[in-house]
Symmetry: C2
Subunit: 361 residues, 2 copies
């Protein structure tokens, strides 16, 4: 088992445990639960696979369970209300701990419920997808979607600990493993060129669920994200770099309807668009863009947006994206592989050309 | 005009402005608005009185308005959704500022919407009731009610500034002025014996809306609350003292249905119960309890709970109160007038006797 710590400043930090069979180890949970009450939040897909094991591990506590429907389509305030109802019916007080057992959607909702129940209670993340293991388990972002925009409702709320049992990935569909690899590749692109090289050399064994390499990839991803988050807990500046590919990606997800494209797939296509804009600005060369596309293809990820999507749709949706500052479009681009920057220079016209014309694609 | 600052630690602080005709002064607002967009959240009662004046004061900005129905009964997630909808339709981004124009209910909801829209945007409080001026404008508590409990959903979120124009109190019903005075008296009881003495001497002029004394009472109340909050932003310990009378008060409000008793009225009756328990513990003498009851009566506030309410109702509701720690009942009691303490020693039996028997009442 590997343990790393996310430093939050203000003398707070929390551990991330990464290894095999961690779901069965009470010692990884008990020190991070303050009161006697625990509420496990999970979904219909994950519950039959891992819920009873986790309940057994937490048997020293009074455990309630909320099983939500599976999918991004249910990441809304109604599901949050379902969690509130269970917490109140179970008379959970401020010392209660929510344990999120599931992917990013479960983690975001359980975290938001924890952030807002009685003005904030503790929670522990047990992420069961590669995406959530490397993304939503680090950084404290929680929230739900609104019909007019993704992740528009939310709060920052840090977990007490994160328990990543990589054996749960054996039950993860291949398409979801790939979606998680999109975020893994993102960390190489924005912050860690040697990790990008390592990924080029090890993408095949990752696609085959090789435990040693998965642990390595998750650890290096979390370290990269933790490094950025520790420098900027509230996303005022440097943390925005983590949004590489996300502004385009959110537009794709919104236009297609939540759940049609997986988040990681949309981010993959978004990263290629960002790379192409970076090439137009003279920062990347054609070889760099090609390496990026090749690595994403090796992870069986899309390298362009849905063919039916127009630039008009992109611009319409991106204008309400929460990364927008007073109407200007802020994008994360690449000075080089391993070096992302915040950029405000790209015009709507350049995006129109990129999406609608063949350009360099 | 008086200005005081609430220190939040972490080098953050915000000003509270107290005076007359402040609603018309752009200079009190503009420095605390980051972007170009403002959303005023108010209600149907306050809007006809003060909205147009505030809109004129904020005319340098793009101003949207949300007018909610008036009353605690509407302090729920549905109203929060109404605010989210307007923010998204108006394409408000992370630089937007919410301005809460109204009493505590409006402030709590506008603050919670600000805490959770795009994971947190700025907000400014313009409290229009005495209660909200001395209570909810300081401390950063925001939230809504749930059918199973008051203020069960919420977040801590600090305003950028608070603008208290005491002239708005001229339109406040006398019953609401009294309810506000309950919280004013509370600060004397928990933290400031000289202020309690001052209130005994000035309660009549306060009841007559005398501006100079109102400004004095609001300032000293805010200073007392700010003093406690600055020491304990997240309510882990000392801040709990502010809940004097509130555990009983919440039980009264819940049992009667929100909005039947005003919050301040319920707190007044709750403070008398706390004083009576403090007398039973030998901390207060009969003269102290009498002074407290006399001052509350002079403010035309109730000094006992609804006669039909049983101890069973109190205990049932208090067990889910968020101040409860793993089932024990935590109360704020008085060592003396001006010195509140956290106490875990009172049994259900003592509360049963206090409510159901004549005892010392």
């Amino acid at each position: 088992m590997k343990t790393l710590y996310v430093e939050l400043g203000d003398q707070r930090r929390y551990p991330i445990f990464i290894g095999q069979k961690l779901l069965d180890q009470p010692d990884l949970f008990t020190p991070y639960i303050r009161g006697k009450q625990v509420c496990i939040v999970t979904n219909e897909t994950v519950a039959p696979l891992y819920l009873s094991r986790l309940e057994k591990t937490l048997s020293a506590f009074q455990v309630d369970v909320v099983i939500l429907p599976d999918g991004e389509a249910y990441k809304n305030l109604q599901s949050i209300n379902t969690i509130y109802d269970q917490l109140l019916k179970g008379r959970h007080n401020r010392s209660s701990t929510i344990v999120a057992l599931g992917g990013g959607v479960v983690g975001d909702m359980a975290g938001f419920a924890a952030a807002t129940y009685q003005r904030g209670i503790n929670f522990i993340q047990v992420p069961t997808t590669l995406l959530s293991q490397v993304d939503s388990s680090v950084g404290g972002k929680t929230g739900v979607n609104h019909p007019l925009g993704k992740n528009m409702i939310g709060a920052f709320h840090q977990p007490q600990s994160v328990v990543i049992d990589i054996e749960v990935l054996n039950s993860l569909p291949a398409r979801e493993l790939s979606a998680g690899l999109a975020e893994v590749i993102k960390y190489g692109l924005i912050n860690d060129a040697p990790f990008f090289d390592w990924l080029e050399n090890n993408i095949k064994s990752l696609m085959c669920y090789e435990p040693k390499d998965l642990i390595e990839a998750i650890e290096r991803s979390c370290l990269n994200k933790a490094d950025v988050v520790a420098r900027d807990e509230k996303e005022s500046s440097v943390r925005a770099l983590l949004n590489l590919g996300h502004t385009f990606g959110h537009a794709i997800e919104t236009a297609q309807g939540y759940g049609q494209w997986l988040h990681g797939e949309a981010v993959a296509a978004g990263m290629v668009l960002a790379a192409q804009l970076s090439q137009q600005l003279g920062w990347l060369d054609a070889g760099d863009v090609n390496r990026i596309e090749e690595l994403l293809r090796a992870a069986t990820l899309p390298v362009q947006p849905p063919s039916a999507m127009t630039s008009g749709q992109f611009l319409e949706i991106m204008a309400v994206d929460k990364k927008a500052i007073d109407g200007a479009i802020r994008l994360i681009l690449l000075k080089a592989i391993g070096e992302a920057v915040i950029d405000d220079s790209v015009s709507a016209e350049q995006i129109r050309c990129l999406i609608d014309s063949p350009c360099d694609k």
